[in-house]
């Protein structure tokens, strides 16, 4: 598998640890995890195991951000390496995150 997701639930916080690459072939793996966040207050996406992300992957993260409003949780991103950070910054992902009261930790 090119992408694995580890789910860890602590009370009202869910941590999703993403390992491998998020691209067009793997977004269908991560999306179901995000869909089942009802009742969660905080969802943390941990990217420390991320190898590669493409624009479809960014699209998935945007979906997560939009979902956070719908399902009323706070989305936090962590473990972003420098290269991914550059990409996120370029496309303006952080501004969107901020607009939806999410944060980077």
């Amino acid at each position: 598998m090119l992408l694995t997701v580890e789910k860890e639930v602590q009370n009202v916080t869910t941590i999703l640890k993403v390992k491998g690459l998020i691209d067009i072939t793997t977004t269908n793996i991560i999306e179901p995890y995000l869909e089942e966040m009802d009742g969660m207050e905080t969802v943390i996406l941990d990217f420390s195991g991320l190898e590669f992300i493409d624009s479809t992957g960014i699209g998935s993260i945007m979906n997560a951000i939009y979902l956070s409003r719908e399902k009323n949780f706070t989305l936090k991103l962590q473990g972003i390496d420098e290269m991914t950070n550059d990409v996120f910054e370029t496309v303006g992902l952080y501004e969107i995150l901020e607009a939806f009261h999410g944060e980077v930790i």
């Binding site: 691209d23 067009i24 624009s55 960014i58 945007m62 939009y66 370029t90 496309v91 969107i96 607009a99």
Partner: protein, 281 residues
């Protein structure tokens, strides 16, 4: 069995392909032709410089987009963009983006306004489709030799200074990708270009091009290639970049489309009057 043009018939032929596969393939080919005609349309010709652009899709059809639009005031509006995703969905959104650019370019005063207008026009659709487009829009004014640009989440173009012999990114300017948030205000930034300067707009498919060993082409190689060929005309630089990528990837299948647009300033400054607004070739 009920047959009409809308129904694909599952029936293996001798090659092992279903008829549906063949029909689909033909239609994708048609779509690719349409897209390539739209992309490789007219390139404006004007005094004081030249532009050129090209795009190679990773699959049969791609989601990258570039365009030129001559404005009534004699400027050329250039846009380059990368639609999220690949293949047919991305190609469809690319056509949508092109329409939004064409109508916005016609009516808006500056690149920033064009991006704002495009975001206003595309936001709802892109949200519904859970997609987005990164765009970089620039106005080249042959009269004053200034390049004014605005950015919606795209990577910054490379600026090859003809005189100083250096390659660097254009001064940074931020902006959220089109389809990210509604009611976005984009900002313009201007730089003065000089004789023999080249601006290289591209999508990240170039620097992320991979060879069989999963190594990336990287910005360093691109800069190197541009430096080596900077004195050439835009068509030749384009060809050299493409050749360099091909040589590096050795025909390995690519994950992303490869697109570039070049603008080069040439010294033959003709007198600019209202009459020599750009002509279409």
């Amino acid at each position: 069995m009920y047959k009409d043009g809308m129904t694909y018939v599952h029936q293996k032929n001798s090659d092992g392909l279903t008829i549906m596969d063949k029909t689909l393939k033909r239609e994708i080919n048609l779509a690719r032709n349409i897209q390539s005609q739209l992309l490789n349309g007219k390139t404006p010709v004007f005094d004081g410089g030249e532009v050129s652009g090209s795009s190679v899709p990773a699959r049969l059809i791609g989601g990258d987009y570039y365009d030129f639009y001559p404005l009534v005031n004699g400027k050329i509006r250039i846009v380059i963009g990368d639609v999220m995703g690949k293949g047919i969905p991305a190609a469809m959104l690319m056509i949508l983006t092109r329409g939004a650019f064409r109508s916005a370019a016609e009516t808006t005063k500056s690149p920033a306004d064009t991006l704002t207008s495009m975001n206003q026009a595309l936001y709802a659709d892109l949200r519904t489709l859970k997609s987005f487009v990164t765009l970089l829009c620039a106005d080249w004014d042959p009269e004053t030799s200034t390049l004014t640009y605005a950015n919606a989440g795209h990577n910054l173009p490379l600026y090859i200074k003809g005189k100083e012999q250096v390659v660097q990114e254009l001064p940074k300017i931020k902006g959220i990708m089109v389809g990210g948030l509604p009611n976005q205000v984009y900002n313009n930034h201007s730089i003065q270009l000089h004789d023999k300067d080249t601006v290289f707009f591209y999508t990240d498919g170039i620097i992320e091009a991979q060879n069989h060993n999963k190594e990336q082409y990287k910005l360093e190689r691109l800069v190197q290639t541009l430096m080596e060929n900077k004195q050439k005309c835009v068509g030749d630089i384009e060809k050299c970049v493409m050749e360099s990528i091909e040589k590096f990837t050795e025909g390995a299948p690519q994950r992303d489309d490869i697109t570039m647009v070049l603008l080069k300033i040439s010294d033959q400054k003709a007198e600019i009057t209202s009459l020599n607004s750009p002509l279409m070739k």
